[in-house]
């Protein structure tokens, strides 16, 4: 479904990614794991179009998307939930969700999705009219994921949903992701919480210093010596 081919990317004076290759099939739940500064967020930003790749190509549903602006990539069915969430803090929760459905023009469909989202995240339903800026950390993450879901995407890119959350909230967020995956959504998850991530995903890529160094089934990776040493602290 998503195919990242030899992508180089980075910022003005700094190249972060060096020839990244990632391939994800429809319905898979894939993790991208690596240390701080390895280029995980850069990878997601490049896929979602917020950063232009310096080289290589990205295909989504067999269509070239690496030359499209971010809003057109969203239109093609790829939704990105960023690390800093990028919520509209002065809008209430329901308006944030409405904005998530910006690309959908069918009012009825928006309403249906919204009801589905409220079912999935009852917490958000309770705080419908609260400004997004006044939500707690966990609620914000939920809202960001929910907003990402509002455009009825075929694939979701999620960047470090566990960052700065209390453990029980992390579990909530992961459960939500698992449910979404169970309903057929393709997910690429970036995480530092390696243990929990390898637990719920099908496959994983390990990225270090801008290069993919390992990939494979999550279960196998959890037993891999390098992974155990570096990430699991065993």
């Amino acid at each position: 479904m998503l195919k990242v081919e030899n992508v180089d990317s980075g910022y003005d004076f700094l190249q972060v990614l060096w020839g990244i290759n990632i391939e994800i099939n429809r319905g898979e739940f894939v993790a991208l794991i690596g240390p701080n500064g390895a280029g995980k967020t850069t990878t997601l930003r490049t896929i979602s179009g917020l950063l232009k790749p310096k080289g290589g190509r990205i295909f989504f549903k067999d269509e070239l998307i690496s030359n499209l602006p971010p809003y057109e990539i969203t239109h093609s069915g790829l939704s990105y939930v960023s690390e800093d969430l990028n919520l509209f803090v002065n809008m209430p929760v329901y308006e944030n969700l409405l904005m998530g459905a910006y690309i959908i023009k069918d009012e009825k469909k928006i309403k249906q999705t919204m009801e589905y989202i409220y079912e999935l995240f009852p917490r958000l339903a309770e705080r419908k009219k609260q400004l997004a800026g006044t939500l707690s950390g966990g609620e914000r993450k939920m809202l960001a994921i929910a907003r990402g879901m509002m455009s009825n995407p075929e694939m979701l890119l999620v960047d470090e949903p566990s960052l700065g959350l209390a453990p029980y909230l992390v579990r909530n967020v992961f459960d939500a992701l698992k449910t979404l995956h169970g309903e057929g959504l393709t997910i690429l998850l970036v995480e530092q919480n390696v243990n929990a991530t390898l637990d719920i995903t099908d496959r994983a890529y390990i990225i270090e210093q801008g290069k993919i160094v390992l990939s494979g089934k999550s279960k196998d990776l959890a037993r891999n010596e390098h992974v155990q040493n570096v990430y699991l602290g065993i």
């Binding site: 701080n36 500064g37 950390g137 700065g164 453990p167 929990a196």
Partner: protein, 263 residues
């Protein structure tokens, strides 16, 4: 089991005795610091005591108020209430940052703040020329060069600071803070985004800085670094200090495990 507080008077008097002998002096003392932003209490009655020559770590989850605490100490924020004593001077809370810097507190920033259209050398010279031990321009430049060498800055000095990447900027920030000749150095997430090798390097560097007689307070995420260099750490959660002590002890504190280390 006796409660720990029973030992407090003994500990205090012991500490006092040691202090009288000049063995360890308290360089920075924060008492009941409170900082509110509107309705949110970012720092809630935090007290700290940093002894001279110590490496003191402050850890906690994102949004626990670590950076805010640091800002309150350096004067970047005016604390709502609380006391800051530094080097024998009492109640410095609320002094502007430039005054705190002149008194000997230098800092680095979580998100580096370079002067983008100055060269690397000029950036560090600013620190040297206006810091705690300010001198005339020439000697400031020399000390800037020395500081750059000290932190092993990898690029030529005439590179524009705006062209550096995040990791290099952190080094630059550190060099600028060091060039001011501080007594106390506050490091805000210095190691974020470093690779393993660089992390070991920076840990060595922090220890070397301490050997120069500079006391260090580190705010950090990365446990490896905290465990590797800190003598004492304090743990913040939702603005409150929930634990303090030697790293190994604190790591075993169930409160800390619940709040921070998680699963």
């Amino acid at each position: 089991m006796l409660p720990i507080s029973c030992f407090l008077p003994i500990w205090t008097s012991l500490n006092h005795a040691l202090k009288c002998k000049g063995i360890r002096m308290v360089i920075l003392q924060v008492i009941d610091m409170v900082k509110k932003f509107g309705g949110l209490t970012a720092v809630d009655k935090v007290s700290l005591q940093v002894e001279e020559g110590q490496i003191f770590g402050v850890i906690g989850p994102n949004g626990a108020g670590k950076t805010t605490l640091l800002n309150c100490i350096t004067g970047a924020h005016k604390p709502t209430s609380g006391i800051v004593n530094f080097l024998g001077e009492e109640n410095l809370a609320g002094s502007p940052p430039e005054v705190m810097c002149k008194k000997g507190i230098s800092r680095t920033f979580q998100i580096s703040r370079p002067f983008p259209r100055l060269t690397v050398l000029e950036n560090v010279t600013v620190g040297a020329a206006f810091g705690a031990q300010s001198h005339a321009r020439e000697s400031a430049e020399e000390r800037a060069l020395e500081a750059l060498e000290y932190v092993h800055f990898p690029l030529p000095e005439d590179t524009m600071a705006g062209h550096l990447n995040a990791v290099q900027l952190k080094r630059l920030d550190l060099a600028r803070a060091l060039a001011g000749g501080p007594k106390l150095l506050l490091l805000d997430e210095l190691a974020a985004g470093l690779t393993e090798g660089e992390l070991a390097d920076i840990m060595k560097l922090i220890k070397r800085i301490r050997e120069r007689g500079i006391t260090i307070v580190i705010v950090e995420h990365i446990m490896k670094l905290i465990r590797g260099v800190c003598d004492t750490i304090a743990v913040l959660d939702y603005g409150k200090k929930i634990s303090e002590g030697k790293p190994e002890e604190v790591m075993r504190d169930p409160k800390v495990i619940e709040a921070y280390l998680g699963e």
